[in-house]
Symmetry: C2
Subunit: 349 residues, 2 copies
DNA sequence: GAGGAACTATGAAACGTTTCAGCCATCTTG
DNA sequence: CAAGATGGCTGAAACGTTTCATAGTTCCTC
């Protein structure tokens, strides 16, 4: 029943356990003949190395932990893919944990990861401050923050520039000739939402300033950015917001909407269409995240794409570097640029 | 740097290591006073139990492995959620592995899981036959097949009845009065595709037989099921198929399409709409899987829903049972019924 | 042919737990 | 008060590896 141990392999091959271990870890240090014999014995017994014993003795595991806010979110699964690829290239395995935005759950997982003595942890923390995480770092496990900029310079982080993303979206809408823009978003405590809005506001302000300078008489009014508040970044919120927008008097209604994420934008698209407004003719629309279904919408949705897999890859590389370098490691904060993806929903015909 | 061991805790608390271990594993066997002392010492030193040592000595880990075909597929992430919930309730942790439909990758992961001495494995195998998996089972690790019916009675499996799903979809379209149905699917080696088609064919045949029996003169022709072959179950395939369908002479074109999955259906929806056909008036549409975005489509998409989280939950429970029962365990094959979700895309107005 | 490299293989210690037989006190019971 | 039961703790063995000092061969080289 129990899996054969190195000892039984050694007996069958008539060698010492040390030699069997060498076959496993330093095959070159063993003569071809004995190596062959040991390998045969392993095969015959169905030997599988016991990773617990190996980790215990050698003091190092081959595992890194990845803690995400939501495994069902494509953003995180793509990130996970990137992490996994880099890990695999370096002979490591990833333990994927889903905190589900729940503090206690996250806490439990971190505890488990530390008990497992993972070599390092990649995490998008539920809360900005996290005592458990601090302790783990203090005790010597490297941690890289994912999709969260490290505020203090005392650790590595990998994130995407949401302010830039917001600016790109708004600039695109302005370039299409729109003057009455709207930002649809909510849960302002979410830093991503606040930053995307900030970027859009910057773009609108800059455009207004430029226009004032050139002082064109007779041109349309200065560009504005209305704020459409929603309770959450969900499809339902988008549908609901669409109903409110549809009943606004036409001269007040924004002609172009920038949504804090794609789900919201898709909800708006369905709602606005149902209310008889056409996209992009009556209202232009741009989302954020470029989820798989953005291109599959009734009117293909323009969006802002984040380099998700690369985010994961770079995060994993940073972690590996810290694992290798140890004390010599210098923390880095990497910030990626998002990318504008133009589809039909925002382009004037 | 290194995390304190039980030994150092013992020294600081002036007790033996055995007592520290008891505090960890059988707190009741230790007097409150010493327990307190030990706990304090642990706190002071930042003690974290070494799971490798524990697993090595006790001979059992607290881990189960879950190997899926694609972590970015919502089907599997929902299943994973179910698995995770049950595991957590039983003090276990799940190592999630993504085979990415790649045989060698799957092989590597299985090897790793066996080295880790996981208590059991849940897997949707890439290939039906899998030697590595056989060996693992032979060596005593319980395995439950996910979304794959065990052919032989020699293991547990959990799956959804795709034949029934196909029948439900076709019966619904027939009930809406459609007579010229079409099945859109491809990669007939995928058992899911073949079975969904089989169910639809059964429903159409039954309807034809019923009609022949009642022998109504002047009624429309017997119901038929056309086959629209596509290379893959993707959005692009759907768009492409739509173009072909749109150019068919109207009397030949099916008035209702059952797509092997939702992605395909969404592609068809976009393509048919772009070609000037209206849904559901000109063509009714129903998909399969009920992905999140089905309801968010331009015309909310009818679909067949699988009890995904429950699939995961039951699979995990089966595995736990087998882990507990050991030799006494009787293998079971669980088959779930899918559910028809009616939305606008298939309902005659 | 002596002296030394270069190879190979050995055997025991160590990693941090759990487990368990056994010991000492204290308590219970007749 | 003797005898047994109970409760609390100890100390050492064991889990399956890796690691390393050591030793035995073989092969060169001068």
């Amino acid at each position: 029943m129990a899996i054969a141990s190195i000892k039984e392999v050694a007996k069958l091959a008539s060698v010492s356990v040390g030699t069997v271990s060498n076959v496993l870890n330093r095959p070159d240090a063993v003569s071809p003949a004995t190596r062959e014999r040991v390998l045969n014995a392993m095969n015959e017994l169905g030997f599988v190395r016991n990773e617990s014993a190996r980790a215990l003795r050698s003091g190092r595991t081959r595992t890194m932990g990845l803690v995400v806010l939501d495994v069902t979110n494509p953003f995180f699964t793509d990130v996970a893919k990137g992490v996994e690829a880099v890990a695999a290239d370096n002979g490591m395995i990833v333990t994927l944990c889903n905190s589900d935005q729940d503090g206690p759950r996250e806490h439990r997982y971190l505890h488990h990861l530390e008990e497992q003595r993972v070599q390092g942890i990649l995490i998008t923390p539920v809360e900005r401050e996290n005592e458990r995480l601090e302790q783990i770092i203090e005790r010597g496990t490297p941690v890289v923050l994912l999709d969260h900029r490290a505020t203090r310079r005392n650790r590595c982080s990998v994130a995407v520039d949401d302010v830039l993303g917001g600016r790109l979206a708004a600039e695109h809408l302005l370039a299409q000739g729109h003057r009455r823009l709207g930002f649809v978003g909510g849960s302002w405590t979410i830093s991503q939402v606040a930053e995307r809005h900030k970027g859009a506001a910057q773009a609108v302000e800059a455009a207004a300033a430029a226009q004032a300078e050139s002082a064109e008489a007779g041109s349309a009014g200065a560009p504005t950015l209305a704020l459409i508040d929603v309770p959450s970044l969900s499809f339902a919120s988008g549908r609901h917001a669409a109903e409110r927008l549809a009943t606004m008097p036409e001269p007040d209604r924004p002609t172009a909407l920038f949504c804090a994420n794609d789900l919201l934008a898709l909800g708006l698209m369905q709602g606005l269409t149902a209310a008889g407004l056409r996209i992009p003719d009556d209202v232009a629309l741009i989302g954020y995240d470029d989820i798989d279904y953005a291109g599959a919408a009734a009117v293909p949705l323009s969006s802002i794409r984040q380099p998700r897999e690369e985010l994961g890859r770079v995060a994993a590389e940073l972690l590996l570097e810290e694992i290798d370098a140890g004390e010599r490691h210098r923390h880095r904060q990497v910030l990626f640029d998002p990318e504008l993806v133009i589809r039909d929903s925002s382009v004037r015909r």
